[in-house]
């Protein structure tokens, strides 16, 4: 992604870009689900949606379904979009809370077009009429990340990126500045550069192995430290959403692509063995496995400096947060966007480095709080892991959010960060964190009038979904159906 974005931006401007990658080192293959921001990334690169979807076997994504998080047996969808419609200058959920306390409404999800459409397996591009139901939502994709990497590699090379197949075996530092001067590859080739972007994953070949930047570990808050991933044959209707199912020692993902389904189990090894995790994953697959399960080890946290000396770490080399809310690719995108905005003009300047690090640190911290919310907004205490979260002291930033919500359905806002208030509302209500009261402004309207308005929205939402085609029909009609063959079951 970085090579593609930089090559698009700096084509013809005298910036030489070299991409070093090795076929021998596979990609991690988690993070196949994205957030709506990915569309902007592709658009900026001039990548057509249909071509991209065909090449990467992508499906549309309207949100994430969370199963068994609040209580065993519960489920809700965190949608990419607002609930209901703006009414009377109030947040929709406040009006809903008032009616809920009178016993006059059904679940909040029924007032969300993307949720109702997702549950029905349907999809269409948002309507251009901003006042219509079916316009106020975003969408993302679920795709094969190794195919996406291949797709972007081709894009980069067409844009003048020099690609070298090989592994970095040695780094040479400038004794005075501590900057990386050159890399030596397995075959002896030496690569010199002014700026290095470390996209080497968890190992952090440059940022950590060479520069020893250090890592802030967040395992106390997000202790899951391993994952096991495996693709399987797809079964049933092609659903436009990712699923995250809570387990006794972690959670399991399901990502439906056009040609297969991605699966994985993220867990805390303190409470489950690798073998048992793999067994649980394999025994809950919807179809035959298409590969051997792949084991991953990680530490949640972030590099002490994302940008250190003349090395910028992007992706897993910069930090890792479990992919519960599909933020892995988004954080890559944030890193790239900031790098382009702060791209060195006459050598690396400390102000660029400082700004980059401040921005990325804030992004990571805010995502961390949102992920942690899923573990603590719960009534579960049926295993050691859930009891650990029940007894946890939360970061102040998160505790304040929870307090304000449970008191009156108020969501503390910020501007810089990926998850806006509707996302917080979705998770808190979805996990049964019902406020004891609501915003008194909701009392201004006569109850029966409000009831009629909300009934109208619910019924219009259902009507709009009825007119929406199944995702598989839409993909075909849209010209985005893939010809990528599924992997062969072994």
């Amino acid at each position: 992604m970085t090579a593609a974005a930089l090559s698009n931006k700096y084509k013809g401007l005298g910036v030489e870009i070299t991409l070093i990658e090795s076929e021998q080192i596979g990609t991690v293959g988690v993070g196949e689900a994205t957030l709506p921001h990915i569309r902007f990334f592709n658009e900026t690169l001039g990548i057509g949606e249909r071509d991209f979807m065909k090449e990467t076997a992508a499906t549309f994504k309207l949100g994430i379904e969370f199963c068994d998080w609040g209580r065993l047996g519960d489920s809700y969808i965190h949608p990419f979009g607002d609930y209901g419609l703006p009414l009377h200058g109030m947040e929709f959920h406040q009006l809903w809370l008032r009616l809920k306390q009178q016993g006059l409404v059904s679940r909040l999800d029924d007032y969300s077009y993307p949720i109702v459409a997702a549950e029905a397996g349907r999809f269409q591009i948002p309507s251009g009429d901003v006042n219509a139901i079916g316009s106020n939502f975003g969408y993302a994709y679920q795709f094969d990340s190794s195919l996406y990497a291949k797709f972007l590699r081709g894009y980069s090379e067409r844009n003048g990126v020099r690609r070298i197949e090989g592994k970095v075996t040695q780094t040479s530092l400038d004794p005075e500045t501590g900057n990386i001067e050159s890399l030596t590859l397995e075959r002896g080739e030496m690569i010199e550069a002014e700026l290095f972007v470390d996209c080497s994953g968890f190992r952090g070949v440059l940022i950590e192995q060479a520069l020893e930047t250090g890592y802030d570990e967040w395992s106390d808050w997000l202790p899951c430290n391993r994952a096991v991933a495996v693709p399987c044959e797809a079964r049933g209707k092609l659903l436009p959403y990712t699923r995250a199912t809570a387990r006794s020692a972690g959670w399991q993902w399901r990502i439906p692509l056009q040609h297969r389904t991605g699966n994985g189990y993220v867990y805390w090894n303190e409470f489950i063995s690798d073998d048992e995790a793999a067994h649980q994953l394999m025994s809950t697959l919807e179809g035959p496995a298409l590969a051997e399960p792949k084991q991953l080890y990680f530490k949640t946290g972030r590099r002490k400096k994302f940008w250190n000396k003349n090395v910028v770490s992007i992706g897993l080399s910069g930090g890792f947060l479990e992919p519960l809310e599909s933020t892995s690719i988004h954080l890559i995108q944030e890193g790239i966007t900031s790098l382009i905005e702060l791209f060195p003009v006459e050598g690396v300047h400390p102000l660029d480095v400082e700004e980059y690090n401040d921005r990325m640190a804030l992004n990571f911290e805010r995502v961390r709080d949102f992920l942690l919310l899923h573990y603590v907004a719960t009534q579960r205490d049926d295993s050691e892991m859930w009891r650990y979260f029940r007894d946890m002291t939360l970061p102040d930033s998160l505790q304040e959010k929870l307090d304000a919500w449970t008191r009156r359905g108020y969501v503390l806002r910020y501007e810089v960060g990926v998850f806006l208030p509707p996302s917080w509302v979705a998770v808190m209500l979805g996990q049964n964190l019902m406020p004891i009261a609501y915003d008194p402004r909701a009392d201004r309207l006569p109850l029966d009038e409000l009831d009629t308005e909300l009934q109208g929205i619910k019924s219009a939402t259902n009507d709009a979904v009825t007119r929406t085609p199944d995702q598989s029909v839409f993909l075909e009609r849209y010209g985005a159906a893939t010809s990528v063959a599924p992997l062969m079951a072994s």
Binding site: R408, L412, D439, D443, R444
Partner: protein, 480 residues
């Protein structure tokens, strides 16, 4: 759930008591009455404190006030026909220390990026002045005004405007509006504020009445009648002297307030219908002495300080009015639902500190790094202009034209860009992507925009003519 309903029901019977009859008190009473309807009782004590500190609200609003004022009943026809209010494209700064030329700190929508690169990088590369590319700045300088049209092809559509106003006018009209709303107005004065365990239990009035309430709003300006009793400390940063002169003026001046610097401080001239208002701020040789600063916690117990009772800034930019609006929006969003207000109090105070510090860094940017006259006013103002957040903004802009953004700032990126340029701050480097457009191409684009602006401004009427015509039009409309 039944418990919650009972809680809200019980608490809603306790009124919100608005104390103070200045701008903050009138706005608070009318705003809350309009937005809460009959879900809360509002008791308004307009004679609960002096209104002398209203002068620190200044005389200009930002464009964001438009919708807010409408919710108060101060829509544009009311303001133009019923008060001395006029339009404002911004504030013109003249003779400001360390600046090479005067500039209009105008209200403007974002300028279009060229080849995807923000305008400031092209300005740095071409060494071009920003002011001639801002239609609201050029029009204000030429004394012209017209409402910005919707059509994006017309350069004037990029302009935004606020108002030049007299706080006393707003108070008068809001007083009339308050009389038509479901507000219990009590004209008695407060004789004593009784407290119990850090909260106000009741107010005693000179009529012999006692007022109890669920929430008290201290809108008594620098008197701080309620906050003082609750022990909220006001940290004085520095003091200034403020003097106001009003002169009749048969012809309305430009749609722009002007601020001129002198050794003693600065003077703002506001062009209102029928009169000109001159406000001088200095080190103390003339006028009323006033303290600048803020309270540490504006919400204490069951009392919230609104406006000048919570903070006092120089009226050098629209910041004081922006903050007053923010106070009211904040308190509305956090109207308590029970006697335990800890959550509301904590969130209100957090947002208050963010808003005030963001507004202050914008004002402080006018003093940061300048070579000012060797005089007490300037020395004190400059000595208070320190903050890491401001240093970061200036350093990043001067380094590479980057506009650093914090959460939910009251001044937007365009405000900052115009201010940096006005203060003569130039980026040392520009984004190399600016080279995507050739120098000639950008020169042509700039010159095309400058010409289009000149043309449209030359066709715009003088501010006074526009206002006179607008009033005639409104009158005709109203008479059917």
């Amino acid at each position: 759930m039944a418990e919650a309903l009972e809680l809200m029901d019980t608490h809603s019977k306790n009124p919100i008591v608005v104390c103070g009859g200045g701008l903050a008190g009138h706005m608070a009473a009318v705003y809350l009455a309009n937005r809460l309807g009959d879900s809360r009782r509002i008791v308004f004590l307009p004679n609960a404190g002096s209104i002398s500190s209203d002068v620190l609200y200044g005389t200009v609003t930002a464009p964001t006030a438009y919708d807010f004022l409408r919710t108060l009943g101060l829509d544009e026809p009311t303001l133009i026909q019923g008060t001395s209010t006029s339009f404002s494209f911004g504030t013109g700064y003249s003779g400001w220390p360390s600046t090479k030329s005067d500039w209009v700190q105008c209200h403007h929508l974002p300028l279009a990026a060229i080849k995807g690169v923000p305008i400031q990088h092209h300005l740095a590369r071409q060494q071009t002045d920003l002011q001639s590319l801002l239609v609201s700045a050029v029009a204000a300088g030429a004394g012209r005004f017209a409402h910005p049209p919707q059509d994006p092809r017309i350069p004037l559509s990029r302009a935004e405007y606020g108002y030049q106003f007299d706080p006393a006018d707003f108070v008068r009209v809001l007083g009339q509006i308050a009389g038509t709303l479901d507000i219990e107005i009590n004209t008695s004065a407060i004789t004593a504020v009784r407290t119990d365990s850090g909260t106000i239990s009741q107010l005693e009035l000179d009529s012999g009445d006692h007022i109890k309430g669920g929430l008290f709003l201290d809108c008594t300006g620098s008197d701080r009648r309620l906050l003082d009793v609750l022990g909220a400390s006001f940290a004085v940063e520095r003091s200034i002297s403020v003097d106001v002169e009003v002169q009749d003026s048969p012809t309305l001046g430009p749609a722009m307030r002007t601020v001129s610097a002198s050794d003693a401080g600065w003077m703002a001239v506001t062009h209102l219908q029928g009169r000109t208002r001159r406000l001088s701020v200095s080190d103390g040789s003339r006028g009323t002495e006033m303290d600048l600063g803020q309270v540490s916690t504006p919400w204490v117990g069951n009392c919230v300080g609104i406006g000048q009772s919570a903070y006092a800034l120089e009226p050098l930019t629209p910041a004081p009015m922006i903050l007053l609006q923010a106070d009211l929006e904040r308190v509305l969003e956090l109207i308590p639902i029970g006697d335990d207000m800890e959550i509301e109090r904590r969130e209100y105070n957090r947002r208050f500190h963010d808003d005030v510090s963001h507004a202050r860094i914008f004002q402080n940017a006018l003093f940061k790094g300048i070579e000012a006259p060797n005089a007490p006013y300037w020395e004190e103002a400059m000595s208070c202009a320190h903050s890491d957040a401001l240093d970061r903004k200036i350093a990043q802009f001067e380094h590479r034209g980057l506009l650093v953004k914090y959460d939910l700032e009251p001044f937007n990126e365009e405000d900052w860009l115009i201010l940096h340029h006005g203060m003569g701050r130039c980026p040392r480097h520009f984004d190399r992507l600016a080279a995507r457009a050739s120098v000639d191409e950008v020169t042509q684009q700039f010159s095309g925009l400058q010409q289009a602006i000149q043309q449209i401004v030359s066709r715009m009427p003088p501010h006074h003519t526009y206002v006179a015509n607008l009033k005639r039009y409104l009158e005709k409309q109203q008479n059917g």
